[in-house]
Amino acid sequence: MNDILLEFKNATKTFLQGDEIIHALKPTNFLIKAGEFVIIIGPSGSGKSTFLTIAGGLQPPSSGQIIIDDQNITDMNLKQLSHIRLKYIGFILQSSNLVPFLTIDKQLELYNRVTRTKIDEKFRLSLFQNLGIEKMRKKYPNNLSGGERQRAAIAKALYSRPEIILADEPTASLDTNKALEVVKILAKETHERKKATIMVTHDERLIPYCDKAYEMNDGMLSIYSRKI
């Protein structure tokens, strides 16, 4: 059993904008193991979102390979990729990817509906308790505070028991205290449940909570070098 959950092998992403070739992701080698919490820091437009969408199987790399749990997903078709996303990946997005018309309880139930499985009530409750939102379960996303919404989004991402969590600026809409709180939870869940979590952010204050930090500049991924 290999505990490398996600690997980039010489992956690049280029696209055309007019006549100009944009190197959104320069040749990248990257791997993450179970139980690791990785932060990628970079300004907007640096290519960190491109990195995340390729990692999540939302778009293929222009060259190189992407391996998720020993499966090469580089040349998979849309349907296979969709299945990989559903099974292996939990997304947490900046604007919280919650469905506006579902209560927090039902946000999680949606996964059971899509996969035609039974609700895991014990697991759901334990997630809510760990994240401190068990009182919010009957509420709609609109009636929650920004921090509660992101915690609900984390619960939703964890509920499908994905191996990999991809978080795109999950703290962007939160104040410092709330942001630190959310990141602590994310780190704790990653370690306890042996997930591989990649969080993309531009907030350097979050670095102390991660196991590894990278920075992304103009499509170049490198180990974070600045001292905190």
Partner: protein, 357 residues
Amino acid sequence: MFLGFNEIKYEKSKFVLIVVVIALISYLTYFLTGLAYGLATSYTQGIDKCSPSGIILSKDSNNNISRSLLLDNDYNNVKVSNKTDKAPLGVSASTVNLNKKIDVALFGIEQQSFLMPNITEGNNIEKSNDVIASDSLKYYGLKLNDSIQLGNSYGKYKVVGFSDHATFQTAPIIYLQMKEWRTSAADILGMNSMKNDSTINAIVTRGKITSYSSDRMSYQTIQSYYFTLPGYQAQVLTFSIMIGFLIFIASFVLAIFIYILTIQKKSLFGVLKAEGVSNNYISRSVRSQIILLVVVGSAIGLFLTFFTSVFLSGKIPFLVQPIFFIGITVLFLACSLIGGIASVFVVTKIDPVRAIS
């Protein structure tokens, strides 16, 4: 259903309005269809409810039934495969004084013939001055056992029974025994010689005609006869085109309406796609939501239609033809689904990368 139903639950007022729109569109379509069909039927149903297949008129009548004069001899000359498959008919126009003066059609019939109407209330004709009246005359105050005078004829007649769907050229029918009809028709027309004659206006037939004297009489199918009734063809054509366009446009409006409704959720579906939810699941949830909305909407439309028709019954010639209503509902459902599926098709083409960024 999970997504569709929870969305309805969350945005109740929005979906109430949507259902109201669908209900009103279907109400309009159902009701006008029923009206047009009822009006067309009120020309012919008095004859048509006896399910005849053909009619014989005198050759020089130019399809005008009251100008067509046939005699007993002619009747006997018509040969049909079964003796009961031909029936003599006398038709004349008259008036009845109820709470106002009403135009009626007098039908002279033989009691044993298949033109004898069904009785929905009261009894059959027994005495010579017994008549059966169209139940639509009840709305003008006619009651069972009332005594009525037909136009300026001398006799009085007793209403012993009512029959439904009894109109001819939109006028309510009063059924008399053939002999009595001759008397009253003769009185009305001032043709005293007719009283002792064996005059009839038409011979209505069922099944196949084996022979008739074609030099005095002309035979045609009952359907082609209906189209010679004054105004019938023009009316049926006009209404068919009007209703046809109404249904076509209403279906189109529904399809566009549902399309816009679903396409508004494009970004949400994009996020779901990014999370790995299949196109199939999204499309199924859209489909079941549309079916729910259209079924509830048209059920309300149907209820309103029946409610209105009960409320206005007797005052307007409204008639339900289930096949039309089923057809319209199926068409509405189909068009709404096309609109919904078209928007799902747009959603399936969304790049999930764009949806989440």
